[in-house]
Symmetry: C2
Subunit: 140 residues, 2 copies
C-alpha cells in the first residue's frame, strides 16, 4: 500500500502547487516580486538579520539577494549597518516605510486567505487548519 501513499502525496503536491500559484499570482500584481516579498518577510520578522542568514533560510543566490537589497535600500525600505563584531557582515533593518510596505502586503495576503476560508463552514475551517498543523508537524 506504499504506492497509494506516494500517489496521494504527489496529487497533493500538484494540487497545492496550483493553490500557491494562484495566491502568488495575486501578489505579483503588487510592485514586488515573489522573492522580494519573501525577503521582506524575513526582514520584518528578524530585526538586524544579515544577508547570509537570509540566504540560508531562503536558499537563494547571494548575488541575487544582494541586488534585491540594493533596490530596497534605494527605495528606503531598508537600512544597512556594518556589524561591529564582524566587519564583513551587514545588519539589515526595515525602515518605517519598509515596515509599512510589508504590513500592507501582509494585510492583502490575509484578506486573500480569508476569502478562501469564508467559503468553509466554521467546522471545516477548524478541520482544515488542524490538518495543516498536523502535516507541518509530521514533515518537520
Amino acid at each position: 500500500m506504499k504506492e497509494k501513499h506516494i500517489a496521494e502525496v504527489r496529487a497533493f503536491n500538484r494540487f497545492y502547487t496550483g493553490i500557491i500559484g494562484l495566491l502568488d499570482r495575486y501578489i505579483l500584481k503588487s510592485r514586488y516580486s515573489l522573492p522580494e516579498v519573501r525577503v521582506l518577510y524575513e526582514l520584518y520578522h528578524h530585526k538586524n538579520i544579515t544577508a547570509s542568514e537570509i540566504i540560508s533560510s531562503l536558499q537563494m543566490d547571494k548575488g541575487y539577494l544582494s541586488r534585491i537589497l540594493q533596490q530596497f535600500t534605494r527605495k528606503r525600505l531598508v537600512v544597512k549597518k556594518i556589524s561591529v563584531a564582524d566587519g564583513r557582515a551587514v545588519h539589515l533593518t526595515l525602515t518605517p516605510v519598509g515596515r509599512n510596505e510589508f504590513e500592507t502586503l501582509n494585510r492583502e495576503s490575509d484578506k486573500q486567505i480569508q476569502e478562501i476560508l469564508e467559503k468553509l463552514s466554521p467546522d471545516d475551517c477548524e478541520r482544515l487548519t488542524r490538518y495543516m498543523a498536523e502535516i507541518r508537524n509530521l514533515l518537520t
Copy 2:
C-alpha cells in the same frame, strides 16, 4: 478566532512552498524545466489534448507553451496533428520516446517522495496522506 486560522493557513503555505521548492530543485537537475515537466504531465495523462486545454489547466502563456511544444516536437517527444473538427486546433500526443521520458521523471519523483515517507512510521504515513486528501477535499 478567525485570525488564528488565517495565520495557520499562511504558515502552512510558507512551509509547503519550501517543501515544493525543495522537491522542484531536484527535478531541475534533470534536462527539463518545471513548466516543461508540468506540460509533459498533461500530455501523458490526456491523449490528444490541445494546446489551449493545457493553457487553461496550467494557466500559462500561450506563446510560452507554443515554444515548449516546439522544442518537444524537435526532440521527437510529441507529434502534432491538426484537428479534423477544428482546423485551428492541434492535437498533441506523446511519442513512445516522450512517454518513456515522462515515465523516467515520474519514477524519480516517486522515489523522492518515498524517501520522505520512509522517515515516517506506517501510522504517521497513513495519517499524513489522509490529511492531504482531506485538505484537497475541503479546498476543491
